[in-house]
Symmetry: C2
């Protein structure tokens, strides 16, 4: 496969236009892997890790018959050999140089970049995904946003309520205005509200798409995604032309979870896809927040589920989202210590009827000495006053 | 003091009317302690624990001069001696037999019982309060409810919203209808909604008052508290005639927290007194739940605070409250495992345009063999069908 790809002048030209500098074989090989394999294919990740992108492509889709390839891998355990054999069957139906050429040309036509590991703007946080980390990313817009800090992933249901959209806009707007990159999935509902709020304050936002970056999905978000591509970044690991299939949505979610320093689910139904993103964030050890809502609203049931079952942190404001990644210390619930005797004495006092120290001692259940010393302090604070008839409170509680 | 009390025929008569059987000195002493000391006085609890109720009263408020009493306690450490000396100063202003007589008579007049440790219906769960456990309880109504199981404390803000009252009524009604005793504080707002819902389903409910059980507080809840006294139980550690002071409200909260097998805060502002009850529940190691609400509602801010800072469990229904005390296993978030290849294949299929196995293999990024075996399964499930033109999905997703 690699020989074919590098022997195709159109492919090499297209790749060189996209990446004027650097190892062209590496770039073509990684682009080819995004075409040949589905996102999140751990066998691909393992092969690339072991052999590099170009050699793994040669090894996996070389022209040699399968038997010969298997003899190359004598040292590979049986399970690995089977995984490789299964992988070859998956990849071979798409192992066509035309697909790679179309992907490279499509990206160039739309002004998208091909980002690969080792690039300055490659988000190393995605490497936490291990064998399922992406082979490459196709990026429209400012790829430097992928490494800007802090990044927060705000996700939620497409079927959002007015409440959810309001909260998404409040939180995303505040975070974006204070310098955070708002990462989301470009979908209707919460995602859209988060992106829009970030754009509305001239903040930074990144949309991860399930299909190619040349296809705005959903179609109703064509303008929004176009705007994000201009001032933010629109990213996918699927090549141009790829449709946003259900599998790619699920796979895309892991990238959103891995890119954010924290993930917050703003509103989600009981089976919302954003719980999948939350699950990835939790599995990656990323801080996970969930915004509560009325228990009478089905649109918040998924968030409450995350609070109950995933140990998500309850977040109600942008400030609390910032605490997720540790920029602010958690406030303490501890109240200011109040002297209980002081409370008892004030309880025992009236603003109208004056009382003697002994009477107050009886009412409050405190010793007269204690009453006298407390009255002294309270008088200094202006809480009580004395006249000939006795002691009174100055103000009602 | 004890000699005086037991030498007063009216006191002994009143006590005997309240408790025809049992140790009359113990009952009078404990009644006296509720009159002489404020609720939660840990020095009282320690004295009663060490000396018993009657002897501790004699020791603390005997007629001997303080110097002689101090010589009794040679073995007591300096700090304890000072605490005792301070206690004497607190208790002495109220050490009047008339107060004890009024408390006993008042209870009898209103049909209240004097419940003391060792009684069949004494709630031993209150003993978890240690030195601050109550000396005795004054109870109107069915004192057996104090030991019925399970008991759940439902509390919340007086300044509740329609949402909070709705949720309180839903949860309390469901719990009471399924046999739980609903414990609360008889206040306006959430407390009232919880009690009323329990009464509405002929369920059991207990109201802890801060003042004496002869005084309905708040006055607007006279009818409600009267009804609870008839079919549930109205309880206080303060004697009849005692005013509901702020201190007694705070002290009362610890009883609500200690009596419930779990405590749930339904709705609470940022500084609601129900957070104090929640703090007691947490300190006692009782399961603590909080009901979330809109983050835009100040009435839920205290609940969200409990979720964030007190590690309270998010509860959204009566079933989830029951889980707090372990009657149901926590549901798992884990979804049914779905074969990812199955998802990919269905993504690749159309309900309109038929496709060949090879075409589906290319679209789905799967091996043709794998496609064939999946199509076989999906055909059995009625998800796909084949005709001369190829394979199609039967229904839209």
């Amino acid at each position: 496969m690699m020989e074919e790809l590098l022997g195709d002048a159109e492919i090499v030209d297209a790749a060189r236009r996209l990446r004027p500098e650097g190892d062209i074989a590496e770039a073509v090989a990684r682009a080819a892997w995004t075409v040949v394999a589905e996102p999140g294919d751990a066998v691909v990740g393992t092969l690339i890790h072991e052999l590099g992108a170009a050699d793994s492509l040669t090894f996996a889709l070389g022209s040699r018959p399968e038997g010969a390839a298997a003899s190359d891998s004598d040292g590979i355990a049986v399970a690995a050999r089977r995984a490789l054999s299964e992988g070859r069957k998956r990849w071979r139906p798409r192992a066509d140089p035309r697909g790679v050429r179309d992907a490279l040309r499509g990206a160039h036509d739309i002004g998208a970049a091909l980002l690969i590991p080792g690039d300055e703007n490659w988000p190393v946080s995605l490497d936490d995904l291990g064998a399922s980390s992406p082979s490459a990313l196709w990026v429209r817009g400012r790829s430097e946003l992928l490494i800007a800090e802090p990044r927060v992933s705000l996700v939620g249901a497409r079927a959002s309520s007015g409440y959810g959209e309001h909260v998404a806009a409040e939180i995303a707007g505040d975070l974006a205005a204070t310098g955070a990159v708002v990462v989301s999935g470009g979908a209707y509902g919460i995602d859209g509200a988060a992106h829009r709020a970030a754009l509305g304050v001239d903040g930074a936002t990144v949309a991860f798409l399930a299909g190619g970056v040349d296809r705005a999905y959903p179609a109703g978000h064509q303008q929004l995604i176009g705007r994000i591509a201009q001032v933010g970044a629109v990213v996918s690991e699927a090549p141009c032309g790829a449709a946003p299939t259900k599998w790619r949505f699920l796979a895309r979610n892991r990238l959103i979870a891995a890119l954010g320093h924290a993930t917050v689910v703003i509103e989600a139904g009981w089976r919302s896809g954003s719980l999948n993103t939350a699950g990835h964030a939790a599995a990656l050890g990323r801080p996970l927040g969930a915004v509560p809502g009325p228990v009478t609203s089905a649109s918040s049931a998924g968030c409450h589920r995350l609070l109950r079952e995933y140990d998500a942190v309850c977040v109600t404001s942008a400030a609390e989202v910032r605490e997720l990644w540790g920029t602010a210390a958690a406030a303490s619930l501890r109240e200011d210590p109040v002297d209980p005797d002081r409370t008892r004495l004030l309880d025992a006092m009236s603003t109208r009827s004056p009382a003697s120290v002994d009477e107050l001692a009886r009412r409050a259940g405190l010793a007269p000495d204690r009453i006298r010393s407390l009255l002294g302090l309270l008088q200094l604070e202006g809480e009580v006053r004395r006249d000939e008839a006795g002691w009174r409170r100055v103000s009602v509680p």
